[in-house]
Structures are given as structure tokens and as C-alpha cells.
């Protein structure tokens, strides 16, 4: 559990004696006394013993989660500042302020206070931009972090629950972002709120009721901004903070995963200690992330609400786009044909309701994948060594298919931008996206799977025949060969460390008494899936030490 605790870091034991009152107590003594005071009340030494020198493995991809954590902290810090100046009210005022183009225009207090933050509060614009940029980075980092965890299989037991926590953070983060950019009540975000009304109205039976309750009456009403405000600054961040703490506690409790390598096993974790290396590296990384976001906010304008104008339900701007993380839902709504079923005095607005459902489905699929894979493999063991994506071709192919779908929907969500920027017909782009919605993931899946298997084959060749050196040798009888170099023992171990499952076999059709066995549909499905995951077409058998010995013992030339 603990690491090599340095005995030198433990202080002089004399300090603990009662009545110790030496003149000129040095700093270490004061520090220890303070620590003793805290420990006597909170019992922190047990926690510190386990964690001060806790070992974290090193890999560049492990910092993706840190970006999420740090951008979340930045969002909270800047968000608290913004609340000091923002007025979450839809009460109407006539603007007379420093942004002269809008003088005399009617607008909500929410919009006016956002203008004031941008033009009258010194640094207000910067904090607004940092807040918005950090939100963009936050969701992006969560998605990429999740991909890292997905493609390396880090979600496997014992980390499935932490995967769910992460998924909920992504889901809530997206919606809090949506509500956040809706708060200024500008023309662009108001259009997003109107879109939300339309989406809610499409829900059968309950749609109109939910819409009336949410907006406090007919659209837009006077309630949606103050209600979003409470949800945006209190409710969702509160839940997210709780999830985040739980997420981090589990990371500490499970200890970090590591890639296979010399000395690394399922039963250990190899790396450098929290104090001092990761305190400095991870702590420093917070400042790097914050610094970069601050510099981006200094030069790149995001959400210039003064250019859009205040919201009016009868006005709109072209190129209306949500923030990027809502783009895929925008894509879903744009490529869906306008299906409506009207019967018995009712309307079923499938053209909006189906995209709404698919939106949920696209998200849920990520949440449940670990459980699906766990069911297929039947694996109940703990996993702390990460997979290389190539060694799990089906999982990798599935992940790439998901990303492909996501990107196609992002493109569909910006079909007007693609049309105007590339001078294409919007109808063509929309139709292409409609087709790609179904075909794209399949193509991506197939290519990725084959690619992974190709890489596995390549690994096998490297292990058995060594690495190509690029050196051409001419043999005495005239033949040219390329010299292959044996891999180092470290590389050999790393490449062959992964495990390979055997596909599940169904029991024989009839049992020993010749009676036909009943095999449930679920079992048969599981066997089929297992076959597709681990059958002959899904993995190249990794070389055995015997094969390697046989080939290398002959002679080294090939």
C-alpha cells in the first residue's frame, strides 16, 4: 500500500515529549506542532501516511483528466466572479451605456448586465471569456479523457462505477454549458432556448405541460433565465462537485492504471510519488492550463453577445450555431426528415422526437459499454494493466464508429457553414449526412477492426522475426536480405504482455442423454458476441515463447 517512506522526513521524536519548551524553536518544530494539532482533531496522519508518497505512473495521456479537473476549477472561480455582476432577470430595460450601437434598444436586465460586464467592468470581459473558453475546454477534455479510458480498457473492473461518474459529469457538463451560454439572453442563445421549447413540445402527451411549467407560461415568459441561473450556478455545479470528489476518491482508492512494461504487473503500480513530483507536476499543470486559457481569452473572442443583440422571438441571425458540444444534437435535428403523424386529433412530432431519443441513445451507449463488454467476456477479475487499442479490435472499432457518428453529426449540425464556406449545396450536404449517418460508422468500424488486426500481425512478426533495421546485406551467393534486429527483452515482454480471450462456446446441442438442451436467446447472443470479439477473425494469436525459441534458436538471419 505505502511506498518507500523516507525515514528522514519523519522529524525528531523529542518534540512529542510533554513540556518541551526550548528557546528558539525552529520552523520544522512549529510545522510539526501544527500538524500534531490537526492530527489530534482530525486524525490526518493515517491519510497522509497512505497518500503523501502515493505512487502515480507516468504517461502523457494521464494528464487529460487533469485538464478536466483544472478547467472545472477555473470555471467555478470565474463563475463566482461573474455572479457578482450578472443580473439574472428578464425584466425589460432600455439600454443607455458604453456600447453605443445598442443605445435606446429594449433588452432584458440579463443582457444589459452582460454588456456591462463586457464593457464597464475592468477585466469583466476577460473573466467572461475565460469562463466560456474554460467551459469549451472542459467538455472537450472530458470527451478526450473518456476516449483515453475507453480505448485502453481502463473502465474494466474495478472502475466501472467511476466510468459512470465520469459519464454523468460529461452529461451534466454539456447541459450546464448550454444553460450557461443561454443566460445572457442574446439573440443567438435565445434561439437555442426556443429550439429547446420546440424539442420539449414534441414529446407525446406531456410536452405542452412540461413546456408551460418550465417557461412559467408561454414562450418566452419571464422565468426561464432566472430558473436557468439557479440550475446553472447552484444545482448542477453542486451535483458535479460531488461527483468530481467521488471520482477523485475512487482514482486514489483504486490506484492509477498503468501500461504494460518491464516490472509492471496487475499487482503493483510503478511511478513517482505524489510528494514532491506529482504535487509539482500536477499542481504546476493547473497553472499551465489556466495560463493558456487566459492567453486564449486575451486574443480570441468567444460569444460576442453585443454583436448578436438582445433576444426577440421574431428575429434571428444566420449561421446560428450552438457551442461545439451541443453540435451533434444540432446535427441530429437537421438531418431528420420532417415526419409527423396526425391522427385522432393528435400530432406525433417524430421529426423532432426521434432525434431527441437518438440523442439520449448516443449518450447512453457510452455509459453502458463497460457493462456490455463485461457481460460478453464474463471476466470478473480486476484489471489495472491497460490494453493497447489494437489488442481489443472490437472495442476499438466500436469506439471509432462512435466517434465517426459524432463527427458526422457535428458536420450535419454545421451544414449551413459548410455550404457557405465551401460553396456547396446545403441539400447535398444534408443528404450526404443522412446517408453517412447509417453508413459512416459501419465503414469506420470495419476499417478500424482490420487495422487493429494488421497491427497485431505486425507485432507478431516483430516479436518472432525482430525489427527491420533498414540495413541490406548481400549474402555470399548473391541474395540480398534485410537484417532484422531482435527486440530487447523489455520490448518483447511489453508487446506480448496482453492477454487473449477464447470465444465462449455454447454447450453441445444435446446433452449426454441425447436430450435437446435449452439455450436461451440471451446466451446465444452472448456466444455470438463473444465469437465476434475473440473468434479467429477478431484476433491474431500472439506468439508463444516456444514459437519464439524455435525461430530464434535456428539462427539469427531471419
Amino acid at each position: 500500500m505505502t511506498t518507500h517512506a523516507e525515514p528522514t522526513s519523519v522529524g525528531d521524536h523529542d518534540d512529542h515529549q510533554v513540556g518541551h519548551s526550548e528557546a528558539g524553536v525552529d520552523q520544522a518544530h512549529i510545522g510539526e506542532k501544527a500538524a500534531d494539532w490537526v492530527d489530534g482533531r482530525l486524525g490526518v496522519y493515517g491519510l497522509a501516511k497512505a497518500n503523501l508518497r502515493k505512487i502515480f505512473p507516468d504517461h502523457w495521456s494521464f494528464m487529460l483528466g487533469e485538464i478536466c479537473l483544472y478547467s472545472f476549477i477555473i470555471i467555478i472561480l470565474t463563475g463566482v466572479y461573474l455572479t457578482l455582476f450578472f443580473t439574472p432577470s428578464m425584466g425589460e430595460v432600455v439600454y443607455h451605456g458604453s456600447y453605443t450601437p445598442l443605445n435606446g434598444i429594449r433588452m432584458s436586465e440579463a443582457y444589459k448586465s452582460t454588456l456591462d460586464i463586457s464593457f464597464d467592468v475592468r477585466g469583466g470581459l476577460l473573466i467572461r471569456q475565460i469562463h466560456h473558453w474554460a467551459a469549451i475546454v472542459f467538455v472537450a477534455a472530458m470527451l478526450v479523457h473518456m476516449m483515453r479510458v475507453f480505448f485502453t480498457g481502463a473502465f474494466r473492473k474495478p472502475r466501472e462505477i467511476n466510468w459512470l461518474f465520469g459519464f454523468l459529469l460529461l452529461f451534466l457538463g454539456m447541459f450546464d454549458g448550454f444553460m450557461g451560454y443561454s443566460l445572457p439572453d442574446d439573440l443567438l442563445s435565445g434561439t437555442g432556448i426556443r429550439f429547446m421549447e420546440g424539442a420539449i413540445l414534441s414529446m407525446p402527451i406531456v410536452g405542452t405541460y412540461i413546456a408551460m411549467f418550465l417557461y412559467g407560461g408561454q414562450f418566452p415568459g419571464n422565468d426561464i433565465i432566472p430558473r436557468f441561473y439557479t440550475i446553472h450556478v447552484l444545482l448542477i455545479p453542486g451535483i458535479m462537485l460531488g461527483l468530481l470528489v467521488a471520482h477523485l476518491i475512487l482514482v486514489f482508492y483504486h490506484k492509477h492504471t498503468q501500461f504494460a512494461g518491464p516490472g509492471r504487473t496487475e499487482k503493483n503500480v510503478i511511478g513517482m510519488p505524489l510528494m514532491p513530483v506529482y504535487m509539482a507536476k500536477a499542481g504546476g499543470f493547473f497553472f499551465l492550463v489556466f495560463g493558456v486559457i487566459a492567453m486564449v481569452s486575451a486574443i480570441a473572442s468567444v460569444n460576442p453577445i453585443w454583436a448578436y443583440g438582445p433576444y426577440r422571438p421574431d428575429q434571428v441571425s444566420t449561421d446560428a450555431q450552438p457551442d461545439w458540444y451541443m453540435g451533434f444534437s444540432e446535427g441530429l435535428i437537421r438531418i431528420m426528415p420532417g415526419w409527423e403523424i396526425r391522427a385522432w386529433g393528435h400530432t406525433l412530432v417524430l421529426g423532432v422526437f426521434i432525434p431527441l431519443m437518438i440523442f439520449g441513445l448516443v449518450m447512453i451507449v457510452i455509459a453502458v459499454y463497460p457493462f456490455l463488454e463485461g457481460w460478453i467476456t464474463g471476466d470478473k477479475r480486476e484489471h489495472h494493466i491497460l490494453d493497447r487499442p489494437r489488442n481489443a479490435p472490437m472495442r476499438t472499432a466500436f469506439g471509432v464508429a462512435w466517434i465517426t457518428e459524432y463527427i458526422i453529426l457535428l458536420i450535419a449540425g454545421g451544414n449551413d457553414l459548410f455550404a457557405t464556406h465551401f460553396n456547396l449545396s446545403i441539400n447535398t450536404i444534408t443528404w450526404a449526412c443522412r446517408i453517412l449517418f447509417f453508413v459512416g460508422p459501419v465503414i469506420a468500424f470495419t476499417i478500424t477492426k482490420r487495422w487493429c488486426i494488421g497491427l497485431q500481425r505486425n507485432d507478431r512478426d516483430k516479436v518472432l522475426h525482430g525489427r527491420e533495421t533498414g540495413t541490406i546485406k548481400r549474402l555470399p551467393h548473391g541474395e540480398f536480405i534485410e537484417v532484422h534486429a531482435q527486440l530487447s527483452p523489455e520490448a518483447l515482454h511489453t508487446i506480448t504482455a496482453h492477454e487473449q480471450f477464447q470465444p465462449m462456446e455454447l454447450p453441445a446441442e444435446v446433452d449426454e442423454n441425447g436430450v435437446k438442451r435449452k439455450v436461451s436467446l440471451l446466451t446465444r447472443t452472448r456466444a455470438k458476441l463473444s465469437q465476434s470479439y475473440f473468434g479467429e477473425a477478431a484476433q491474431i494469436p500472439k506468439p508463444t515463447p516456444e514459437e519464439h525459441a524455435e525461430i530464434t534458436s535456428g539462427h539469427g538471419h531471419h
Binding site: R106, S202, F219, P220, D416
Partner: protein, 355 residues
């Protein structure tokens, strides 16, 4: 613990790391060779290199201090606001706010430098020796498991929860009902929908008022090929409920050659080729604003639903599910355009109660 699974687990591979950690055995070329020996960095063995690294780290921290002073100076010296005097030209960004640029860059540098200093310190001067920590299985030992189960059974037995069914059932009932109060409390979030979505502010005899000039319109004001936005007479921007009213009542007027109108019923609802349609998209309610005068198509800029105004507002492309509702208009005695009633269908997006 024990697998409840009815299937054989023979297909599982051998537990990973079963042979891990062992030293390379002769014959198994893939065996774990163990953690390679630690290699010293230059700063570990060369005191001059270490001193140089220390100076570099200190330089980063100094830079941060300077940038913070720059931040405070910018805050005091530069003015906020959009006036041209407050902008600065930065290639290739163009004219941007001087205050925002200087505050952001100095804040960014002051933060980044702390991070860079700390990371450089960690990478050059802190020990990079790798340590090994053991992992322990998360699952409890069978003894602990038994103890927990026994404790639980003991507790459950002492509570009498399973035996005293009356207590159990009434408690479950009470717990199930108490959240109902919370649900009821949300009733006053808003009114019931009733028929609110079915009607708009339009009514028989209401004149069409130009949205820009705020003047009632005559048919002669509308030229062929133009697109004009209008609102019902008596609706003012300063009205308390203006946003809710206009969210449904906004209309657009187009004029086409009567011969171009394909839908004859639709032509009859207009006046001398002037047709009045709802401006609210039937997809999810965006205001429609892009008019192609040659084809009489209007396009919603949000999701590209396209409607043919010469053909009764029919959807010809995009995700909208039904035609744009048309408002029946005529002229009154003074020659002003007026509505002959409300829309015959609810405007805007579809909903369950819409017939």
C-alpha cells in the same frame, strides 16, 4: 465472489501477472525482465547543470511576478469599453480591446510561468526514481464478508423488519407517498397548456402593421418580390407581454404575380397577390427570415427547413413537419390590409394536442 454465472469461464485467459514480477527465466523470452535500473539525468550528477536548472526555475517564477505587476498596471492604466481609443492593433487579430488583451496576456503569463517553473523543477531537480507500490485486491476476505453478512442478519433480525409485516408495509407506504408533496409543490411552476398554443393575437379586422415603420400598410406598399415583416395592430414593443405575443403573431408578407401562385385556395386567402404567412417555423419555432424572390421559397436559418410560399407554405426541404400557416387577409374600407380572423391552425412547432 462466487460466480453466479451459469457459463463456463474456461475461455478466460490466465490471470494476468500470474507470472509477472518474476525474473527472466531461461527459455521464456517474454518473461518480465523487471524494472530496468534507474538512469541518472545530467542534473543528478552535474552540480553545474543542477544550478543552471535552479536558475531557470527561478527565472520562471520571477517572470510570473513581473507579469502580475503588469496585470495590476494594465488594470489601472487602460480603460474598458468599446471606444476606438481603447483598442490596440495586434497582428493578425486586428483591432482588439487594449484592456482585455493586456489583462489576459499578463494574467496568462503570470499563471503559465508558475506552472512552467514547477514542472521544470519537477523534471530536472526532483528525484525521478521510480518506486513500486503494491496493489491489494479490493474485495474483502471471505472472513470479513461472512462477518458483514452475519452483522447485517443480526441487525435485520433485531429490527424485526422481516417479521413485523405491518410495520414494514406501512413504512414503505409512507416513504412512497411523502415525495408526492414535493411533486405537488411544482404545480405552480406554470399554467396548464389548455388551448393557449392554438390561438394568436390576430383577429378579424386587425390591421397589419409594418414591424419596422410601425405604420398600417396598404397593398400598394408591398412590391412584388419583397418580404415585409408585420405585427397585429395594437401590439407595441413596450407592452409587458410583447415577447410572448410576437413569439406567435409575427408574420411575413410577400407579393407575387397572381399567376405565380400555384395553390388557388392560398391565393384566395391573400389580396391581389399579397400573401401573409406565419414567420414562426413549424419545425422548432425559429423565425424564418431568408426569402428567395425568384422561387418564392423561404428558408429557416436555424435548421434549413424550406417552404414554398407560392404553394400554400408547403415544406419542400428540411426537418419541418407541416406547412407554414397562412393568415387570411383582405383590405378594409380605408384600403389598409387587415386580417379576416386568426390563423386556422396553431402556429409554430408541432405538439401532441395539435390536430
Amino acid at each position: 465472489m462466487t460466480s453466479q454465472d451459469n457459463m463456463s469461464e474456461e475461455h478466460l485467459p490466465e490471470a494476468h501477472g500470474a507470472h509477472g514480477g518474476e525474473l527472466a527465466v531461461h527459455g521464456d523470452a517474454f518473461a518480465d525482465p523487471g524494472l530496468p535500473p534507474h538512469e541518472h539525468r545530467r542534473t543528478d550528477i552535474d552540480e553545474h547543470a543542477a544550478a543552471r536548472a535552479e536558475r531557470q526555475v527561478a527565472m520562471w517564477f520571477l517572470l510570473s511576478m513581473v507579469a502580475t505587476i503588469g496585470f495590476i498596471a494594465s488594470y489601472v492604466l487602460f480603460k474598458p469599453g468599446p471606444e476606438t481609443g481603447n483598442t490596440v492593433y495586434i497582428f493578425p487579430l486586428g483591432h482588439i480591446s487594449r484592456l482585455n488583451f493586456s489583462l489576459g496576456m499578463t494574467l496568462g503569463v503570470s499563471l503559465f510561468a508558475i506552472g512552467a517553473g514547477a514542472v521544470h523543477w519537477a523534471r530536472t531537480l526532483m528525484s525521478d526514481e521510480e518506486h513500486i507500490a503494491e496493489r491489494h485486491p479490493i474485495e474483502a476476505t471471505p472472513e470479513v464478508r461472512e462477518q458483514v453478512f452475519a452483522d447485517f442478519r443480526q441487525g435485520a433480525k433485531e429490527s424485526g423488519f422481516g417479521r413485523r409485516k405491518l410495520i414494514r408495509n406501512t413504512m414503505i407506504g409512507a416513504m412512497a407517498m411523502v415525495p408526492l408533496s414535493a411533486v405537488v409543490l411544482f404545480r405552480d411552476l406554470g399554467p396548464l397548456p389548455e388551448k393557449k398554443l392554438d390561438s394568436t393575437e390576430w383577429a378579424k379586422g386587425k390591421r397589419l402593421v409594418n414591424m419596422n415603420t410601425n405604420e398600417p400598410m396598404k397593398a400598394s406598399d408591398i412590391t412584388v418580390g419583397s418580404l415585409t415583416f408585420a405585427k397585429p395592430e395594437g401590439v407595441e414593443e413596450s407592452d409587458e407581454n410583447f415577447q410572448e405575443v410576437i413569439a406567435k403573431a409575427a408574420v411575413m408578407l410577400v407579393r407575387m404575380q397572381p399567376g405565380d401562385i400555384k395553390d388557388k385556395a392560398s391565393a384566395g386567402w391573400g389580396y391581389e397577390g399579397v400573401l401573409c404567412y406565419s414567420k414562426i417555423c413549424t419545425h422548432v419555432g425559429c423565425p424564418i427570415s431568408l426569402y428567395e424572390q425568384q422561387t418564392h421559397h423561404v428558408l429557416c436559418p436555424c435548421h434549413q427547413s424550406t417552404f414554398d410560399l407560392s404553394d400554400g407554405g408547403r415544406v419542400i426541404f428540411g426537418p419541418a413537419g407541416h406547412p407554414l400557416p397562412q393568415l387570411q387577409i383582405s383590405v378594409n374600407g380605408d384600403g389598409y390590409l387587415e386580417a379576416l380572423g386568426d390563423f386556422s391552425k396553431p402556429v409554430g412547432p408541432g405538439f401532441w394536442e395539435r390536430s
